[in-house]
């Protein structure tokens, strides 16, 4: 029986096997999705107003015209967000940024951006989640807790499912390992294969692991038991198809990616290892890929009369800190909430346009607010899964809210 499956855009996993029962464009029942996905489909908080200028209700045309005029009058506008937008929306946003000489960035500049860039540039070996389901025997979660952030990852792709070359089940054929500073929910599942390290201890742990892999005595300043490290090294050496899922915990603890490159190099001399970044939002990967295809960079860029400038000074954090941007178009993100207060407060001094399906701290402080359809629930399109696979989706229910894509096109036209 062919079933009508929907895609969940609740996280970077983009689960494509969700059944939904709905009536009169209200989702009643959701099958197979995790609780995060269900909340995303059923309870996504809606703002009351559709379009606001200076907190007063207006019509769509007035709102888009006001947005266009703010962007036109700005010397260096910032476009930020887009992590939950479709590829189609992101491409229009890039066009828009080009047209108005904007600074363009997303959350990856303070999350996993450098790692994603290295992967897009083929500097690290990667694979798909489907490869992992079919083949992986050693799965490492490093500085990340998918049980909280990507709830279905272990059950749908990595540890528990049967795959074409993994027919006998997880107890016999797979080993899941967690390396983290705290005993997370995922670490709990990993049982004896949880390796707890002190905060900022990752680089040393990698060095020690490399020593262990090369047959030397693994030493750390925090006296991690060499026996346990050697045990880990042996499991990794014996892997036929290994994968490391890298989370923010690891990236924040490293000064640069060098230790990770070294580890992947030796792992691939001794066995066979792949790396996948634990991208949280449903289409941050898409933003990074789409921007890279257009400019050669994954984030933190500024367009200037047809040329592209890139550097940390064009990241959302640095450009707000240095007050180099004088207006902001925020799409599907809440920088006032997620950025450090000292930086976010500079946003209160410039006119902000917030395009979002829910009311956020940022939207409340915006000059223009536009309430859009929820990508993946009320608007269709495509997104890139955390492993780089493109997933297309149709809307689950209908809405009379315009999609982000339509709004950005209208703003472009009004310029």
């Amino acid at each position: 029986m062919e079933k009508n499956y929907h895609v969940c855009t609740g996280c970077g996993l983009l689960c494509d096997d969700i059944e939904v029962e709905s009536e009169k464009n209200i989702v009643n029942k959701v099958y197979t999705a995790c609780r995060v996905g269900v909340a995303h489909m059923k309870e996504a908080r809606r703002a009351e107003a559709d379009f606001l200028v200076d907190n007063k209700p207006v019509d769509e045309d007035t709102a888009t015209r006001e947005a266009a005029s703010i962007l036109k009058n700005a010397r260096n506008p910032l476009i930020f967000g887009l992590g939950t937008s479709t590829n189609e929306t992101q491409k229009i946003a890039i066009e828009l940024a080009k047209k108005i000489n904007a600074t363009l960035d997303d959350t990856s500049s303070f999350c996993l951006g450098p790692l994603v860039e290295a992967l897009i540039q083929d500097k690290l070996k990667t694979c798909t989640l489907d490869d992992i389901r079919n083949k992986a025997d050693v799965i490492i979660y490093w500085g990340t807790d998918p049980s909280d952030s990507h709830p279905r990852q272990l059950s749908k792709h990595t540890y528990f499912p049967r795959g074409s070359e993994k027919q006998r089940g997880w107890e016999e054929e797979r080993t899941a390992i967690a390396i983290d500073v705290r005993k997370s929910h995922t670490a709990k599942i990993c049982g004896n294969y949880f390796f707890q390290i002190p905060p900022k201890g990752d680089a040393e742990f990698i060095d020690a692991l490399i020593a262990g892999l090369s047959g030397k005595l693994p030493k750390t300043s925090y006296n991690y038991p060499p026996k346990k490290l050697l045990e880990l090294a042996n499991i990794l050496k014996g892997a036929k198809f290994g994968v490391i899922f890298v989370g923010r915990g690891l990236i924040y603890s490293l000064e640069n990616l060098e230790p990770l490159f070294k580890l992947m190099k030796i792992l691939n001399e001794k066995s066979n290892f792949h790396l996948i970044p634990m991208v949280g939002n449903c289409n941050t990967m898409g933003f990074n890929k789409n921007l890279f295809a257009e400019t050669g960079y994954v984030n933190s860029i500024k367009f200037e009369n047809g040329t592209v400038k890139h550097g940390p000074e064009y990241s959302v954090v640095e450009s707000l800190k240095a007050k180099t941007v004088d207006a902001a178009l925020v799409i599907g993100s809440d920088p006032l909430l997620i950025l450090p207060g000292s930086i976010a407060k500079n946003m209160l001094e410039i006119p902000v346009i917030s395009v979002d399906h829910c009311e956020t701290l940022t939207s409340k402080h915006s000059k223009v607010y536009i309430n859009t359809a929820i990508s993946g629930v009320e608007a269709g399109g495509s997104a890139i899964r955390m492993d780089g696979v493109k997933v297309s989706f149709e809307p689950v229910i209908e809405t009379n809210h315009p999609s982000e894509e339509v709004i950005l096109k209208k703003i472009m036209e009004a310029l």
Partner: protein, 154 residues
Amino acid sequence: MTNAMELYQMLPKTNCKKCGKTSCMAFAVALMAHELTPEDCPPLKDEPKYKENYEKISEIFKPSEGATETGLIVHEDLCFGCGNCVVACPPNVANDPYGVGSGNAPRNVNKLVLTVENGIVKAQNLGECRRFGKNKILCNGCIVTCPVEAIEFV
């Protein structure tokens, strides 16, 4: 929950074999496995001197509210629908290898013990559960794979 040793301490310890087991310790183990119930021990049930212990043990094995025929309860407030238990449950895998057994949505829900609905695990078809019926075994597939201890057997 109690262990077999603690139960044993509350039994008559006479090894009278009236329950059909060879010793009171064996009866304690059978209690733990939900194979027998406290009433299956005649002296415990009938003799006044064991009354207090009988009540205590009965209290332990009282079918709890919300428990299913196999004693499975889902703590709905804890479960977040990760599906680990669904995919790891042996009868689920055997009955739907390419659906839930491969991590996907169910292809055939008729014989599935565990599925996820509205983000929370739901138990049904308990006749398929390995803890059900005469040949039951102490399967713990759904317990050890849950990150938050949302499934419990009472």
